[in-house]
Symmetry: C2
Subunit: 248 residues, 2 copies
DNA sequence: AAGTGGTCTAGACCACTCG
DNA sequence: GAGTGGTCTAGACCACTTG
């Protein structure tokens, strides 16, 4: 009924959609501690009456809060403020070129090695393909302001990507090319610290043994292994930053 | 889908709710490349007719896909398969005790230092409080199987947390205590690699200069700085792992 | 057995943009 | 100006769980 628009207009004191206002309100009560951990949130029907909206709107809000982990929903019992179990942080791992350009530094790269070969036993641990599969083994050094910024060591499963033969990885970095070619993918990241070995140190222009941040990523698309990459950053020149807000 | 493939058809369509089935279907078309980057997705009304459901149900699905970043929605024009812009990885940064226990190792910790003092200039960079604020400065070494596992250096804003005086941080680790006391929070993470300095090396029982993974986290609650913590892991003994799937 | 959340519908109005 | 997505409603039925 159009009558309800009058009622909701009255509440229109704050910005955003009805969702947002209700969500902010409830989130505020949880974040501030007014509704402590374990507190039972009013039932959907009651909230709907309180906010003067339909139950679906409230449901949408509570569903979102549950997905964010602020509340837990139990059938028949109701919804409860949940205990913060794990701090989850969303890392945005972007294109290296963009990474460099966001630092206001000129970007460049060179490719010391491109080799096509058959997968060996050691590769299986990295790329998850049968021995004998044709793979591309690439080393790429990314430069920021003319200085080494990141060492990229990559394996590509040639049978899972079309048109790799046509790609010229001396003109476009392999990571960027793959991003534009492979439709969508799932990935697994592993982040750790390691001392630079002799080869790494030389290619990055740092002293052997320097602490480096290492990001290893394995990527699948449609169930097939696509690529494995190890990105090595000199530790003092790079940091991953992630922010986290409750309902995001 | 033909009637003869009853079994597979059943598996396809029996994957939970109507949302899920439609979402999986559309996600499949995007992930497989059947709908390439830039492809315009059918309008909501058409999808609703195709799937035999109401527009709201389709809207829910497309909204979810948009939130996951697989599609972009433009008013009047329609929805389009978007280019994978950044690889976003969700890190689950859990309680250190749980971390250790998940390794099937006995957990223990000791607290070499607990000091209450006024915030100095150097602290401002870390904790985001005015000079002179009462803070707690804690160092905590977490042990796994009797060996140092992680060094925790923490500052707590005493004016933002109630009951800190009653807490005995020799019995419960500060991180765990805070997690149970502070309602909810936003956080900022910074991850990098660093060589262990003399103090760190001694407390972790490793050689000076060893590559370490450093996680720094600043936490706010209700707009006020709560705590800042630096977790230092010996690089070869620890890794952060994150997985990523398109629509999660 | 009752009440909860989970889901879905068939409409509706709006703001915004593009053909 | 027409068509898109964005949002919201007032119902409805179901599955499940717990008092």
């Amino acid at each position: 009924m159009s009558v309800s628009t009058l009622v909701t207009a009255e509440r229109d004191t704050e910005a955003g959609t009805l969702h947002q206002r209700i969500l902010n309100d409830i989130e505020g009560k949880i974040v501030s501690g007014e509704w402590p951990i374990g507190h039972r949130i009013p039932f959907e029907v009651d909230l709907a009456r309180e906010y003067g909206c339909s139950r679906m709107t409230v449901n949408k809000v509570l569903t979102q809060l549950a997905r964010a982990g602020l509340i837990e929903r139990v059938k028949k019992s109701g919804s409860f403020v949940s205990q913060p179990h794990t701090q989850s942080a969303v890392l945005e791992i972007s294109d290296i070129r963009k990474e460099v350009e966001s630092l206001k530094l000129p970007y460049a790269f060179n490719v010391p090695r491109v080799a096509k070969r058959k997968a060996q036993g050691a590769d299986r641990l990295l790329l998850d393909v049968p021995v004998g599969t044709a793979i591309l083994d690439i080393t790429c050094v990314h430069l920021a302001g003319g200085k080494p910024f990141c060492l990229e060591q990559r394996l590509i499963n040639l049978s899972s990507v079309e048109g790799v033969d046509q790609a010229d990885f001396t003109k476009i970095p392999p990571g960027q090319w793959l991003l534009s070619q492979v439709p969508w993918s799932s990935a697994e990241h592993r982040i750790h610290a390691a001392a630079a070995d002799a080869t790494t140190a030389e290619q990055l222009g740092i002293a052997q043994g320097t602490a480096c941040l290492v990001i290893e990523r394995r990527t699948w698309s449609a169930g097939a292994a696509v690529t494995q990459v190890r990105l090595t950053y000199p530790g003092d020149r790079h940091a991953l930053v992630a922010t986290f807000t409750p309902s995001s």
